[in-house]
């Protein structure tokens, strides 16, 4: 942690861990990212759900999906490349079997909405948004789009807006658009998502990656291009959060990508995130969120700050150059 001597009032106040995303309140600033606590089924007892601000579900399609062939994952330097495909029990089975496991312990749930067509996004969202315990939706935009020859939804800005807008118009709970990092103009697309009705932005989705097994002349995952997560993508995610937050200071942003320690989480909050999500870190340490939550409070105490929101926008920048984000 940071040197407490540099703080401006070390230990004077007792900071809170609660965060308020323009009315959407979480008891903790640390959430579980989509795909890292499955759908709620079989979440092992060693994961302390009470210490998570919320759980974002594994992305849900309307019908059950088997996902892709194995191998589905490859370890890469400081990263995890995963290509599981959309395996999930389908939104109906999720609501009857898995959601109660989360609501029983009282952890808020954010439903991750996926689909292979605009219609499927709408059907999944309309099943989720009125369920007790579902406090928000997050639109997953990396699905192959059957209406566009399987190109990812995020490939065209107008398609992103169409999907995000449709979900946002029907939903009674706040809708976050989960943006992939490699968009031509991330800030402009974030702005348009908000105009289309998105309540907030989740930045960022996994980065497309490829791992090769040269010995066997083959790709290390059965489906070659996977999503790279873990510390390897942290600077990419931070840059995205920083850019979007600077352009849209009033829009709640959930920062995600490679957060593995309290210092990482604080960096995202300083860069402009309102809350953070843990993904790969939970896979390697099922109590990472407890330690990170504690570390954030320690940092706040050492700086004499009273809540994670006090960090937002505190990042000092020495020089800004016109045209350079």
């Amino acid at each position: 942690m940071s040197d407490p001597r540099r703080g401006d009032g070390g230990g004077r106040t007792k900071p809170t861990s609660a965060v308020d995303l323009r009315g959407l309140r979480f008891a903790h600033p640390v959430l579980a990212a989509s795909g890292c606590l499955a759908t709620g089924h079989d979440v092992p007892g060693i994961v302390d759900l009470h210490r998570l601000g919320a759980v974002v579900t594994r992305s849900l399609t309307f019908a059950p999906s088997k996902g892709w062939a194995t191998p589905r994952a490859a370890e890469t330097p400081a990263g995890l490349l995963s290509a599981t495909g959309p395996q999930n029990p389908g939104v109906e089975a999720f609501l009857t079997e898995d959601l109660p496991r989360f609501t029983k312990v009282g952890v808020p749930v954010i439903g991750s909405v996926a689909g292979s067509s605009l219609d499927e996004y709408v059907r999944v969202a309309s099943r989720l948004h009125r369920e007790p315990g579902v406090v928000a939706l997050e639109v997953y935009l990396s699905c192959p789009d059957d209406e566009r020859d399987g190109e990812p939804v995020y490939a065209r800005p107008e398609r992103i807006l169409e999907v995000v807008g449709a979900v946002a118009r029907l939903s009674q709970v706040p809708v976050f658009a989960k943006l992939p990092p490699l968009l031509p103009d991330l800030v402009e697309i974030a702005r348009s998502c908000v105009r289309a009705g998105a309540f907030g932005i989740t930045a960022v989705d996994a980065v497309p990656g490829l791992a090769v097994d040269a010995d066997r002349l083959r790709t290390r995952t059965a489906v070659p291009i996977g999503g790279l997560s873990g510390p390897a993508i942290k600077p990419i995610a931070l840059a995205a959060v920083y850019q979007v937050a600077r352009a849209l200071p009033e829009v709640p942003i959930m920062g995600v990508g490679g957060i593995a320690s309290a210092d990482d989480a604080v960096e995202f909050l300083l860069a402009g995130a309102w809350a953070v999500q843990l993904g790969t870190a939970l896979l390697t340490d099922p109590s990472a969120h407890v330690e990170i939550g504690r570390g954030i409070l320690e940092y706040l105490r050492s700086k004499g700050l009273s809540s994670p929101a006090d960090l937002r926008g505190r990042l000092r920048v020495r020089e800004r150059v016109e045209g350079v984000p």
């Binding site: 996902g67 194995t70 490859a74 370890e75 010995d215 340490d285």
Partner: protein
Amino acid sequence: MKRARAEVLNTRRFGAYHALTLVAPEVAERVRPGQFVSIAMPRGRTFLLRRQFSIHQASRRGGWAGTLEFVFDPRGPGTGWLAELKPHQFLDVIGPLGKAFAYPAKLSTCLLVSEDHGAAPIYFLAQELRARGKRVDMLLGAETQERVFKPIEGKRLSQTIVITTGDGSLGERGDVLDALPQIVESTGTQVIYAAARRSTLRRLAEFCFERGIPSQVAVEEEMACGIGLCFTCTVPVIRKDGSGYDHLRACVDGPVFNPARILWDRWMGEQPAMVPTPPEGFPAVRAWPG
């Protein structure tokens, strides 16, 4: 499933393999053959993911009570790091994980097939079967003598054993399944258990299916988390009612499966035809990715 900070008690070499003994009473007292533990890697390295290892021994009584042992091939960054550990260092351990081998209620003549350090969980199973009054025979295979895991232990635990090496440096020269029809015939095998390469398991599955011999195999599939969260270690398994198949997680619904229900064609579909696949390394739940 428990999570523990476990002290390394002992580290040993067996031929090409390493074995670590940990003090983890809360895991050791629950574990059954076929189950595995998940070990966290050190922070600040570029390899992040936990590694999974089948249990070789768990001692509940005596001077070693509360300890468990696992075996690995130290060829990757993670297993290489584990091989360098010294006694009294600590590891973050989660276990026991996965479904164990089931013991037969009535049938009593068991054949245990293993390759490389797949033998580690198989010896654990052999002990438990013998303690239940079952007859144990073994087929033990590896490429070379130094990759045959504890052959003397195998002999001690079995009524009959056939050891095979690819280069003939120990036992017969050939493949672990070469002696399969003969040993099944001569011992009157009623149940088969196995922990071996995927291609071996598949041939064994076909044999068991033809002969109508019930069997269980411990599979290896690449696991990112080992505790059911990530959905990377799935195996296509045919539903009991035959209405289709599901991708089941090897870490939660396995690693022990009924081979007759594995959809082998689909599971092995990604194997390339153009180059021979080198041995992938074991145990049943492999130290992955090394």
